[in-house]
C-alpha cells in the first residue's frame, strides 16, 4: 500500500502537483492521466523512490519511502520507465534475470527465480529471443523485455510509465489483461494516454489537471467527458469515451 500525504511534486523549482493526498492499495489497478508536462512521469518516479521529494510524505506499507534501502525499495516496488537504456551487450534472458537482483543479490539464481524468469519470458512471448542480444532486437521487443524484467522482479507494487508504447494492438490488450489479473493480489499503477483501455481495465483513476489539481476516485465515477475535457483543457465530443 502506498499512502501519500500533502505531497508537492516539483520539477526543479516548478510546482507540478500541489498538496496531493491519495491511498493506493493492493487489489487496485490505477491509471494516472494528464496532459503532457503535467508531472505524471515525475510523480511515478517519486512514488517509485527514484526521485526524492521535499514537501509531503510517502509511506509504503507504513514505512517512509525515503528510509527504505535500494534493495528494500526494489523488493516492494518495480517500475517500468519510458526511457529504454540498452547499455552494454547482454542477452534477453540475462536482462530479465537482473530483475531478481533485489531478491538474490549476490547468489546465483535459485529454482524459484528461474520459475519467475521463465514465466515472465512466456507471458511476454520472448521464448525465441531468449539468447538474443538486447542490442539486436526491435523497440517493441525491448519494451517487452523491460516489462518481463519487472514481472520477474515480482514486487507487490508495480508502476508502469506508458507500458503500451511500442507494442502492437493485440499485445496491448494482452498486457492490460495480464495487469488486470495481477492487480487481484498486487497494486498496479500505470500512466497512459489511452482512455479506452483505462475505462476497460482500470479500477481507479487519477486525473492531473494543468493547474496542479487532481481528480481521484473510481474509474466509473471519474471517467466522464466533463472531467476529461477539464483535464485536457479542451472540448472533445462525448463519443470518444465509447
Amino acid at each position: 500500500m502506498i499512502e501519500i500525504k500533502n505531497l508537492t511534486v516539483l520539477n526543479k523549482e516548478q510546482k507540478l502537483i500541489s498538496n496531493l493526498n491519495a491511498t493506493f492499495k493492493e487489489g487496485e489497478f490505477w491509471a494516472i492521466l494528464g496532459k503532457n508536462g503535467t508531472g505524471k512521469t515525475t510523480l511515478l518516479h517519486t512514488l517509485a523512490g527514484l526521485l526524492d521529494y521535499r514537501i509531503g510524505q510517502i509511506t509504503v506499507n507504513g514505512i517512509e519511502l525515503r528510509s527504505l534501502s535500494s534493495i528494500q525499495r526494489a523488493r516492494e516496488i518495480a517500475i517500468l520507465s519510458q526511457l529504454m537504456e540498452t547499455g552494454l551487450n547482454c542477452t534477453v534472458e540475462q536482462n530479465i534475470a537482473y530483475g531478481r537482483y533485489a531478491w538474490n543479490k549476490l547468489k546465483n539464481n535459485k529454482r524459484s527465480d528461474e520459475k519467475l524468469i521463465n514465466a515472465a519470458i512466456n507471458n511476454m512471448e520472448l521464448e525465441e529471443l531468449r539468447q538474443k542480444s538486447i542490442q539486436e532486437i526491435s523497440g517493441g521487443e525491448l519494451r517487452k523485455v523491460e516489462i518481463a524484467t519487472i514481472l520477474a522482479q515480482n514486487s507487490q507494487i508495480m508502476i508502469l510509465d506508458e507500458p503500451l508504447n511500442h507494442l502492437d494492438i493485440s499485445f496491448r490488450y494482452k498486457l492490460m489483461h495480464l495487469l488486470k489479473q495481477l492487480s487481484d493480489k498486487k497494486l498496479i499503477i500505470i500512466v497512459t494516454h489511452d482512455i479506452q483501455y483505462v475505462k476497460a481495465y482500470c479500477s481507479h483513476v487519477m486525473l492531473l489537471n494543468k493547474n496542479g489539481e487532481t481528480s481521484i476516485g473510481l474509474t466509473s465515477d471519474i471517467m466522464n467527458i466533463n472531467n476529461i475535457n477539464k483535464m485536457l483543457d479542451t472540448n472533445l465530443p462525448k463519443n470518444i469515451l465509447l
Partner: protein, 309 residues
C-alpha cells in the same frame, strides 16, 4: 595465468645479457647473475605486473562508471596531478628518496580525487559532471606540466619526458603495491554482479535495487586509488587502461565475474611484454615503456576485433 607465467620467465631471462633461469638450481653459475635477476629484473617485472593490472582494472571501472568506452584512468586528471608534482620535484633539483618521490605523486593524486569529487558531486554524483570536471582538471594539469617542461633546463627534460611516457627503470623490490593490487582486485570482484547490471544503465540498475550512487562512489575511489598507485610508481603509461579492458571484453564477453580477473591478467601481461621489449630491443639503451604498450597492444586489439567481427 599460464601466459603470465611464461611471459614472466622470458622477462626475467631477457635483458642486456641473456640469463637462463637454470642459474637458480646450478650453484656453479656466477652469483652476480642471480643478483641481476633479484635486484634489477625481478623488482621491475613485479612492478610491471602490478602497474599493468592496476591500470587495466582502473580503466575497466572508469569506463563502466562514465559509460564511455573511450575513457581511460587518466581522463579524470588523476595522473596529471601525480605527474605535475613529480615533474616539479625533478625540475627543482631536489633529490628525494624514491619511496618519498612515489608518495608525493600518490598524495597529489588523492588530493586531486578529493577535489574532483567535491566539485562534481555538489548536487549528487553525476557521471557527466564527473567526466567534464575531470577533463577540465586534467587540462589544467596538462598546462602546468607543459609550463614546467618549457622552463626546465635541457639536462632534466629527458628524464621528465621518460616519466611522462611511463618508466619502470627506477623499480625497487616492494611487495606492498602487489598486495594492494590483490586486496583491491578482490574488493572490486565483490561488485561483479552490480557491475553487470550497471553496465546496462544506471537507471535500470537503480530500478533493480542496486545502490548505484554509493557503488559508483566506491568504485570511483577504488579506480582512483589504483591509478594513483600506478602513476606514482611508473609515470603515465598510456594505452593499458584504455584498450586492455576492451581486449578482455573481446576475449571473455561482458560478464564481470570473468572480465575483472582477465582484465587484471591481460594488463599485467601487456605491460610485462612491453617493458621486456623496451629494455632489450636497443639494449643497453632503455626506452620508455609507454611507447611499446601502444606498439604491442594496438595490433593485438585490432586482430581480436577483426576476428570477433
Amino acid at each position: 595465468m599460464v601466459l603470465l607465467s611464461v611471459v614472466l620467465v622470458i622477462s626475467l631471462s631477457s635483458g642486456s645479457e641473456y640469463i637462463p633461469l637454470s642459474v637458480f638450481w646450478n650453484d656453479e653459475q656466477s652469483h652476480s647473475l642471480k643478483e641481476i635477476i633479484y635486484t634489477l629484473r625481478l623488482p621491475r617485472a613485479i612492478n610491471a605486473i602490478t602497474v599493468g593490472a592496476l591500470l587495466s582494472l582502473a580503466g575497466l571501472l572508469i569506463q563502466n562508471l562514465v559509460k564511455n568506452p573511450l575513457a581511460d584512468p587518466y581522463i579524470l586528471g588523476i595522473s596529471g596531478a601525480s605527474a605535475f608534482i613529480q615533474l616539479l620535484i625533478i625540475a627543482s633539483g631536489f633529490i628525494l628518496p624514491f619511496w618519498l618521490f612515489i608518495l608525493c605523486g600518490f598524495v597529489a593524486s588523492i588530493l586531486s580525487i578529493v577535489l574532483l569529487i567535491t566539485i562534481s558531486s555538489r548536487n549528487g554524483l553525476k557521471t557527466n559532471n564527473l567526466l567534464l570536471t575531470g577533463v577540465v582538471i586534467a587540462f589544467a594539469y596538462g598546462a602546468m606540466i607543459s609550463l614546467i617542461l618549457s622552463i626546465s633546463p635541457l639536462s632534466t627534460t629527458k628524464s621528465m619526458l621518460f616519466w611522462l611516457m611511463g618508466d619502470l627503470s627506477f623499480s625497487q623490490l616492494s611487495f606492498l603495491p602487489l598486495i594492494l593490487l590483490i586486496i583491491g582486485s578482490l574488493w572490486v570482484f565483490r561488485y561483479h554482479k552490480e557491475l553487470d547490471i550497471m553496465a546496462r544503465g544506471d537507471l535500470f540498475a537503480n530500478k533493480c535495487g542496486v545502490d548505484v550512487k554509493s557503488i559508483n562512489l566506491t568504485l570511483l575511489i577504488t579506480a582512483s586509488v589504483f591509478t594513483a598507485i600506478a602513476v606514482s610508481m611508473a609515470g603515465t603509461i598510456g594505452f593499458v587502461g584504455l584498450v586492455v579492458p576492451h581486449i578482455a571484453r573481446l576475449l571473455v564477453g561482458n560478464c564481470h565475474a570473468h572480465l575483472i580477473p582477465i582484465s587484471a591478467i591481460m594488463g599485467a601481461v601487456v605491460l610485462l611484454i612491453a617493458d621486456t621489449v623496451s629494455r632489450t630491443i636497443l639494449a643497453p639503451i632503455q626506452l620508455p615503456v609507454g611507447i611499446f604498450t601502444a606498439l604491442f597492444g594496438v595490433p593485438l586489439f585490432l586482430y581480436l576485433m577483426t576476428k570477433r567481427s
